[in-house]
């Protein structure tokens, strides 16, 4: 089977939306607030996947093409081009249907309200932020404690029932896509802040606490939690741990893995262990570091201790307009070369500016070829001179307008515009794929030009929003599904873009994860031995293969035969990196 062309990356169909709040605490998970191009978006937002499915399934005119194409392991991959189903249609082998005794056992352990098996309820959990893939779980449980999670997992382990953990369901790679024969363990009832230890600058949380609520809880004490993914209003700390979430400020402050001190984890056999500890360098293997970013495949974090930082004394933010992304890229290079590590450098091209400005009125210049949002923070004595230097370097590299955020309100407006970028695409395009690739930052100019040319060749527009400081691109491929063949072209272009990233020495994903979305692209970056080593490690944690199975690593069922498909990484071919 031709692996690279048909089975690799699928761009994320639309995205999450800011300011969505899962108020109920149970059920009604974050429907990925998809399809923001449609006027009924606001209504759909509050009803999650279920309504969207109803729309998709029943009224093809509203959302055409959702005929439910099987994509292995029972996933109906909707929104995909027709007739390109992958692998055998059917269920994962070796797992039994859930027995009544099993359901009764969980119901008696968790209480009747915490175990859902009504088809209508189950359907609300059929997808996460990667809405193109949908699977209805056999059972949904809403445990309220570590003990209840362990009870559920022990029962699953005993019966060899697959399970998948889910936080807010904002993930963009299908990490929380349910298993058709399995249990979906939703952490929405575990949202307590367990301890705030200001003296030791740390906080201990249950996994369902939202990212932003961590910082809010200590805002009055001048502290905050650094990782700030764009979905921070709704996404949970548990999900952040699973995905090793970053955010705009990870350029200076790092990712989730740099900010989590300890985890209580229910392992796939139901054992409860602590990874990490009180001290920053726990003795032995860095199991905490290995778990963070493992996309829910090694266990379920039930208690998370995060590091808090003191708010920096000074923060300065500017928006710099440039004639083109190339000019903006030069500015980024100049800033980095000057030895400045800004808290964030974000870039938007003109299309992205148009979309964000229309969506939020953040005050971006509609006629700018590109804009940079640069934020510098730290001690006042350092911040002032660094900010002046950034201003000077922007002017020297061709900035046409510099707009300083005078205060917190203005800064918030600028960031609101940037954070809304994915959802805002609905303002300028009916449909779009979100991509997430990484390149060495110095290849920025070249890669953007090639993406532009590739878009022209495909007859499609590509909007670019990205974390320019660390080379993490989010090209958004715009298309209109009503136009015959356009979805296929868009999907192909999105895949070509991420392959270009790997070719340039980068990565298939900087923050959205592999999940179900990109597992078949893994052989682009890793050879059979690399993947076999990863699989060995996974098997040490989950020997039965029941914890979020069929994700992250490529499987023959989904991706075809892997061996022999590897081509050396270009840096390997150039002798920059080696493997013997």
């Amino acid at each position: 089977m031709e692996l690279s062309k048909t089975l690799t990356h699928k761009g994320t169909k639309s995205s999450i939306v800011d300011n969505y709040k899962d108020d109920s605490g149970v059920g009604c998970p974050l429907g990925p607030a998809a399809y923001p191009s449609r006027s009924e978006n606001a209504r759909l937002r509050d009803s999650g996947c279920r309504s969207q499915r109803a729309v998709a399934g029943r009224t093809a005119a509203v959302y055409p093409g959702h005929t439910g194409i099987a994509a292995g392991v029972g996933a109906r991959r909707t929104g995909a081009p027709r007739g390109r189903g992958v692998g055998p249609v059917g269920r994962a082998g070796g797992t039994a249907m859930l027995t009544d005794a099993f359901r009764r056992e969980l119901r008696s352990a968790l209480g009747p309200g915490a175990v859902l098996d009504d088809p209508a309820q189950l359907a609300t959990y059929e997808c996460d932020g990667l809405t193109g893939y949908r699977v209805t779980p056999a059972l949904v449980v809403l445990p309220a404690s570590t003990g209840q999670v362990a009870t559920v997992v022990r029962a699953c382990a005993r019966e060899r029932v697959p399970f998948v953990a889910r936080g807010a369901g904002t993930g963009l790679s299908g990490g929380a896509l349910p298993h058709a024969d399995g249990v979906l363990i939703v952490t929405s009832r575990m949202r307590r802040i367990l301890e705030i230890d200001l003296a030791n600058r740390r906080m201990t949380l249950e996994p369902g606490v939202t990212n932003l609520d961590v910082s809010k809880a200590v805002a009055g004490d001048g502290m905050y939690y650094a990782p700030d993914p764009s979905s921070q209003v709704v996404c949970t700390i548990g999900g952040n741990v699973a995905e090793n979430s970053g955010g705009a400020h990870c350029l200076k402050y790092g990712f989730t893995t740099n900010h989590v001190l300890a985890l209580e984890v229910v392992l796939p056999d139901g054992e409860v262990v602590t990874l990490g500890g009180d001290a920053p360098d726990p003795t032995g293997y860095d199991l905490r570091g290995f778990f963070i970013g493992s996309e829910g495949t090694l266990g379920i974090a039930t208690r998370i201790t995060v590091r808090l930082l003191a708010r920096p004394e000074a923060v300065r933010t500017l928006v710099a307009d440039f004639p083109s992304p190339h000019h903006a890229g030069d500015a980024v290079s100049a800033i980095v070369a000057a030895g400045i590590v800004p808290a964030a450098i974000e870039m938007m091209d003109n299309l992205a500016i148009q979309a964000c400005e229309r969506a939020t009125g953040a005050g971006y210049s509609l006629d700018a070829g590109a804009a940079l949002v640069v934020e510098v923070d730290g001690p006042e004595a350092d911040c002032g001179p660094a900010f002046e230097q950034v201003r000077r370097l922007c002017r020297e590299t061709g900035a046409t307008r510099l707009r300083d955020a005078g205060g917190d309100g203005e800064r918030a407006r600028i960031w609101k515009g940037r954070r809304a970028a994915f959802a805002a695409m609905g303002r300028i395009s009916r449909d779009y794929f979100v991509q997430d690739g990484v390149i060495p930052r110095t290849r920025l100019g070249e890669v953007l030009e090639r993406i532009g040319r590739m878009g022209e060749d495909a007859g499609l527009r590509v909007a670019n929003v990205f974390h320019a400081g660390d080379g993490n691109l989010h090209p958004l491929v715009l298309y209109d599904e009503r136009v015959e063949g356009e979805a296929e072209r868009a999907e192909r272009l999105s895949t070509m873009i991420v392959e270009l990233c790997v070719e340039q020495g980068g990565s298939i994903t900087g923050e959205h994860g592999v999940g179900r979305d990109k597992q078949c692209s893994m052989p682009k970056m890793f050879d059979a031995d690399d993947l076999a080593v990863m699989d060995r490690a996974r098997a040490a944690w989950d020997p039965q293969g029941i914890c979020n199975p069929g994700k992250l690593l490529p499987t023959p069922r989904l991706c075809g035969e892997l061996r022999g498909r590897y081509r050396p990484h270009p840096l390997e071919a150039a002798g920059v990196i080696g493997r013997g």
């Binding site: 090793n244 262990v273 001690p379």
Partner: protein, 415 residues
């Protein structure tokens, strides 16, 4: 015991060396500069695999602020080369001047005082190439700072002390060398040091290192480093002085050679001399006074000497036990460990006076995740040939490893 020594000069040679050892069922001790060979349990191995010929700076992508180097490259030499571009790998572990290598620092999960600002080696490594006990060569991560593709296998190797595999090449993210640095010296005891440290940790002065070293029951020296934009260092130095004054302490600024000498002396205090026993504790940062007090009491009871060096904002401290004999050293270690574990912390043995091993466990009470470590060890090194005994009872002791080897040689274990 006389060991065969192998010195692979390429990843391929390293793979062949491990595959060869696997074929003959021999156990392997991987070493770099040898500055941390005593950490953890004593290892008995048939073959020594010296990484120091894997010493090339493979790539320095200055504009991307990344570098790739052979695992055997000494950190000091790497820093020299990176420094020419105004960059550095933001690590300052104590063994740097004694030849500590990049791979050894990774395998030990080591860091120095500036861990406070930049993190440990685990926070700075973005990818690695490694060879497992059976010669399988793999890599994880990549050359970009932001990357979540696949499992971060490199993290498992951090702190593995040569028990899971051989790291042959390491990719790291770099930082710009700070424009200026200033260090303040404060004479105080551990209790006041901890109080001042708590203030410094949230101070707008944003120090990059806050260390204390001295007599756990008496006085010592605190070093506070601020670094960054040249124009800012003066104001931040004053801010530290003001904060110290608020605690009734006098902070004297050091610059230039005086500053460098103060940090050299501090690094020297961590390693320990021959005849000493060295152990490392991890605990909640605000427990430093209790941790220091417990060491003073344990040393007094066993009538040994003891000094303590602590990352005062981090919750990490290293003690040196001196004087008398192995039994007394073991008694101090055990007494201190009991107290620190009682506070929720850990104490691990780093080097020791001969004989201490027989009287005290090198690692202490196994963590709840020890079974997980064993499961990983079984998958990566099923015959327990890499650094057998290193993690003592946590992975199964040297004795068990020895038995496994004997059984293997006798052909009684199906491999």
């Amino acid at each position: 015991m006389r060991r065969d020594v192998l010195r692979p000069a390429s990843a391929a040679e390293a793979r062949d060396a491990l595959a060869g050892a696997a074929a003959s069922g021999r156990s392997v001790l991987i070493r770099g500069g040898g500055t941390k060979l005593d950490w953890g349990g004593a290892v008995e191995a048939d073959v020594e695999l010296d990484t120091r010929a894997l010493d090339r700076l493979v790539a320095h992508n200055a504009a991307d602020m990344t570098a790739v180097a052979g695992a055997g490259m000494p950190l000091a030499r790497l820093q020299e080369q990176l420094g020419e571009a105004g960059q550095w790998l933001a690590l300052d572990p104590p063994g740097t001047d004694e030849g500590a290598t990049l791979g050894g620092i990774l395998a030990a999960g080591d860091a120095g005082p500036r861990r406070m600002r930049y993190g440990s080696v685990r926070d700075l490594v973005i990818g690695s190439t490694f060879a497992l006990a059976d010669g399988t060569v793999g890599h994880s991560g990549g050359l970009v700072i932001k990357n979540v593709a696949g499992y971060d296998v490199t993290k498992l190797l951090c702190g593995s002390l040569g028990t899971l595999g051989l790291v042959t090449q390491v990719a790291v993210r770099l930082h710009p060398l700070p424009g200026a640095s200033r260090t303040l010296r404060i004479t105080t005891d551990a209790r006041d040091a901890a109080r001042l440290a708590a203030g410094l940790a949230v101070s707008p002065a944003e120090p990059s290192a806050v260390e204390w070293a001295g007599d756990p029951g008496g006085t010592g020296t605190m070093l506070v480093r601020v670094e960054g934009v040249r124009e800012g260092v003066g104001a931040r130095t004053s801010a530290v002085q003001d904060l110290a004054r608020g605690h009734g302490l006098d902070a004297r600024p050091l610059g230039g050679e005086e500053e460098a000498a103060a940090w050299r002396e501090h690094a020297g205090a961590v390693g320990g001399d021959d005849g000493e026993t060295v152990a490392r504790a991890g605990f909640l940062p605000d427990r430093l006074p209790e941790v220091a007090g417990a060491l003073a009491r344990a040393a007094a009871e066993a009538r040994t000497g003891a000094t303590l060096t602590a990352g005062a904002c981090l919750g990490l401290a290293t003690c040196r036990i001196s004087g008398r004999d192995a039994a007394a050293h073991a008694a101090t270690l055990t007494g201190w460990r009991r107290a620190v574990e009682g506070l929720g912390g850990t104490v691990a043995l780093r080097r020791r006076l001969a004989g201490v091993d027989q009287l005290a466990d090198p690692w202490g009470t196994p963590p709840s995740a020890a079974a997980l470590m064993r499961a990983l060890k079984r998958r990566f090194d099923p015959d327990d040939r890499l650094a057998p005994g290193r993690f003592g009872s946590w992975l199964g002791g040297a004795e068990q490893a020895g038995q496994a080897r004997v059984a293997r040689r006798a052909g009684r274990v199906d491999r």
